[in-house]
Amino acid sequence: MTDDIEFLKTLGDDLRAVAATSSARSHRPRTVVVAMPLAISVLVAGIVVAATHVDQGRARSGPASHPATTGPFVRGGPVPPQYGYRLTSVVGSSPLDVWAFGAHQHKFQPGRGSMSGVILRFDGSRWATVPHPRIGEIRAAASGGPDDVWAVGDRRVLHWDGSSWQRTPVPRVPGLEISSISASGPSDAWLVGSRHGARLPANSIGSHTLAMHWDGGRWSVVPTPNVDHRYNGLSSVLALSPSDVWTIGAAVRKRIGFHWTGSGWQSVPMPSIPHHTSSGPSALGTDGAGGIWAVGATNGPGYGDSLYFKWDGTRWVRVPSPHALTQTPGPSAVSGSDPDHIWAVGNPCCDRYLLAHLVDGTWRNVRLTLPARVRQFEAELGGVVTVSANDAWAVGYAYGQNAGKSATAPALAALILHWDGQQWRPVGVPGLFSIGSVPRPTK
């Protein structure tokens, strides 16, 4: 009866990862060294020069016991499983202005929890971390231009004004959970999510939809419809202009969608998927020319199907998915620079990395070819931005488990992929435990 509950499976995985760390901890501590296969070293030479290691304070304490240039991608242990980096979103307004966001998972620290936000910026030649006010895991981000970038984590909202990141206060809403943000300009941004808890109107339990609007000076709550007295939530928002904003989400046993026309939210019927009443698209993206896409997955018992929907001007039309049915399917982000250049990325799928490209109106699977030593990592891509036909970025994380023969614990490595018009390549980030980094010099 509880076999299908994804939450229990994930919790089981999380606990196993913690247990694996404890096992490893009882063994002799060793240094973690990120090694990079030669092929990638060559590819990214000139971009990434710094060595990096997991959870610096911890990793430095042990003696280096492995040469860094041979063997598995990540060597040694113990690397606490949740330690490392995961990237969740990427936004960009031009080839010289790309931002990536996510979290550093670390040992619990009072006042900081176990996750801190990470903000990275690509200036046209390299990625670097950017200082910012304290924030937890950054789950969503948006760009309205080079001087107008947003990052959302926990209940905090950060804004980049062109020179620094600042907190912008949001109205106090009990049980607030923000899931998505989008900006059409400096005085028009939206964030959506849900509010949980008991302080809901009479006869309500569970959660209600929530939207807030930024008018250039402050955030204010804009009432959103609810269709169920129990669970309602919005998962994604896309602001194309002040009078053209889309949001989608879920309620009990149905998917919901609303369109803001400047004065109010109008309900947009979401397509129903046979046998999967509570499944549907969960992320919105633009094709760069005013067209919109919605992607997601069915999560039926045992397997699921990837979902691609295009708005044809009057309704959502399902476009065939190129992916096979799988256990953990689904694109989680979609972005295009023009209707002929759209990318979708998502969970590990049939090809371990889910990358799909729209070619002549048809979605095609794109196989990412990485050196064998990198391929032993499970990877998940959470964000994508298509800047132009030959410039796109995808971010996520790689999760290496038992890399190599020794009982190494898994670790999360930030994963940034770049599309140059020909192929996807991993790009490392100096100072960050990431795929594509160069080896730490060995003694």
């Binding site: 694996a20 040992k107 009990v252």
Partner: protein, 194 residues
């Protein structure tokens, strides 16, 4: 679930997990489903139930060294002691703790919509409804009426007082006495918070 002839008992798994922490995963696999159902039936709130399940197992893992095998010790009873403590804390604070998860670095994960449905299905609203109806019928007629108006129909106390024909203060007292009686009657059937 009873262990087969070659399987470890829950107690062996839990005690063994001190030296070999991965054994805790096996213990988790056995107990997670029933634990989620336990919380779902007591909170009627899938989100909270999931959250409490996660925190309970995190805390069980963190304090597994305190479990001792004795002739009469039961791993399940030990686990449910932690669970009940979590439940009563959640009752007071209207949310689950995150302390054990924070300490271990177990991420706090939200429920997806399908999980929400599936966990709600564990609650068995029909049984709850029958129990509530049964318990309600055992209240005095005045209390029944007050509780129905206030709780079932969600009317303000002013309305309740007007409809029953008493002062607002008296209406409040009647609802409150009715609810505590109801809680007492429901406790053996539906489960309680503490």
């Amino acid at each position: 679930m009873k262990p087969g002839p070659v399987e470890h008992t829950d107690e062996q798994l839990l005690a063994g997990s001190v030296a070999d922490p991965l054994l805790f995963s096996v213990f988790y696999e056995r107990c997670a489903g029933p634990m989620l159902a336990f919380f779902a039936r007591r909170t009627f709130d899938p989100d909270l139930a999931a959250d409490l399940t996660a925190e309970t197992f995190a805390q069980a893992f963190a304090s597994r060294t305190r479990f001792r095998i004795r002739a009469d010790s039961s791993a399940e009873a030990w686990l449910y002691t932690i669970a009940r403590r979590q439940l009563s804390r959640a009752r007071r604070k209207a949310q689950a703790e995150t302390r054990a998860r924070d300490r271990l670095g177990v991420p706090i994960r939200p429920l997806n919509a399908s999980d929400y449905d599936r966990i709600e299905a564990l609650i068995d609203f029909e049984a709850v409804g029958r129990a509530v109806a049964g318990a309600l019928s055992k209240l005095s007629t005045e209390q029944q009426e007050a509780v129905t108006l206030r709780v079932v129909e969600g009317r303000p106390y002013a309305d309740v007082a007007r409809l029953i024909g008493c002062s607002e203060l008296a209406a409040r007292a009647r609802v409150s006495r009715g609810l505590s009686r109801l809680a007492g009657l429901l406790e053996p059937t539906v489960g309680s918070w503490s």
